[in-house]
Symmetry: C2
Subunit: 268 residues, 2 copies
């Protein structure tokens, strides 16, 4: 049965608010997602929150009612609370009408089935949550399988990343790995590692990409370390016609991924 | 001669801090850009700030010295101030070492030379400064001429837009226009208006794009209004393989623009 919580000092509210911090997310193995659209995307992908928070005062949106029923049927917790408290949980003045608390979704590298998708992203030291979330959204769009995070990437389960992913976090595998472990895993099976780099003149449309293609995207400010570039099967660059020497990391990922997708849908 | 200002309450400091607000930017016809990289990009494009602020205490970086000399030679104002005050101007704790105050760079629609570039962006009600700045950076990368802003777009001269553009604001024309005025101008010369839409199955790689191509990007949440779509010469869609039905606005712009560029560099 849904229950109602009215106090800011309620221990559960405090605990859930704590999930805005990486340390507490990690300790609990839980994260927050907000908004009817994202939570509905998750449900459509078969993923339900362990706890579902909704605002009291207005009857739930029909899609929210679908979520309520699904969470209850799965034995989860449905909690109504004031719009004020919901705003504190979501950290926004203009609170989303629903907030879900989800079990974190890391896939162990060893469990990843590379044959499940033709394209995978590998993000190296990606620091911006907007970039990482956008990369997941691009991954969903091009039919990628997910993103493998190497080195010190931003938390994939931060509120900002989840928001920027627009729900793609729930359709994309997320893996955290050390670079040597990733390389060892990669080389134990089929797969082409493709890096974008300023240190090559090889046009990104020149090669034939073969599935699975792993698109390696370097840190926003520094690009890829030299030894990471050396480990790639291909280094390519996109034409840059102006003064700038690089694109935003997620934008570069999108341009690369659509090239690979376009080749594959031509049967190339 | 460079001069030094040490007080937070100095009227010039107050005035420059005020440029963080759209109303004051508009009244003064000035805007702020921060960071050695962006200011150097601007200088390389032949654009100097009217005022240049630098932090006291450390000798200027060689590139900053180049800026100082150029601004002084052009009769501009070079001002040294404390890192604290510089932080207040730039609104960041970790202040950039240099801040420039620039005359705003709007190009009147009537002055725009469409033949100067093969690609132009038209942003409709774009609300996110990160998206607009990123779109300018993409424009620079693909050799576009600039961005025409229609309807209620975010201020192209906000600190956030300038930052996200990574200096591309200084290589791209920026036009603000009413939609009917833009359409009348467009139809008075050559040019193909191409919209991305969910309301078509026409693949974005199917048509042959001809210069100049105007890529119309709709509002982040709502996409393009129906009558704007009706005014397009072509409506196209990118393949979407996953659950999501759209890409981030600037990402969609990048994928479209690289397709147009790729066709043109094949001589298509």
């Amino acid at each position: 049965m849904p229950r109602e919580i009215t106090g800011f000092s309620n221990p559960l509210i405090k605990r859930v608010r704590g999930l805005r911090e990486k340390k507490l997310r990690k300790r609990e193995g839980l994260f927050l997602a907000e908004g009817l659209r994202i939570l509905t995307e998750a449900r459509d992908s078969g993923i339900l929150p362990e706890m579902l928070f909704l605002a009291t005062g207005t009857p739930p949106h029909p899609l929210a009612q679908v979520l309520i029923d699904a969470v209850e049927a799965a034995g989860g917790d449905v909690i109504f609370t004031s719009p004020d408290i919901l705003g504190k949980i979501s950290g926004k003045d203009n609170a989303q009408a629903v907030v879900g608390v989800y079990r974190d979704r890391l896939t162990p590298l060893a469990d990843l089935d590379r044959s499940a998708a033709p394209i995978w992203f590998v993000a190296q030291a990606m620091r911006d949550p907007g970039n990482l979330g956008t990369l997941m959204r691009i991954g969903d769009a091009v039919g990628a399988g997910g993103v493998i995070l190497v080195d010190d990437c931003v938390d994939p389960f931060s509120v900002e990343t989840v928001r920027a992913s627009m729900g793609a976090l729930f359709t994309q595998h997320v893996v955290q790995a050390e670079w040597p472990d990733f390389l060892a895993w990669l080389r134990a099976g089929p797969g082409q590692l493709v890096g974008t780099s300023l240190n090559t003149e090889f046009d990104y449309q020149a090669p034939s990409y073969t599935a699975p293609t792993f698109l390696l995207i370097g840190n926003e400010a520094r690009g890829l370390p030299g030894d990471y570039e050396a480990a790639c099967d291909l280094l390519v660059k996109m034409p840059m016609m102006g003064r700038a020497d690089s694109l935003n990391a997620s934008v570069a990922g999108a341009v690369m991924a659509y090239e690979v997708l376009n080749q594959m849908r031509r049967g190339g």
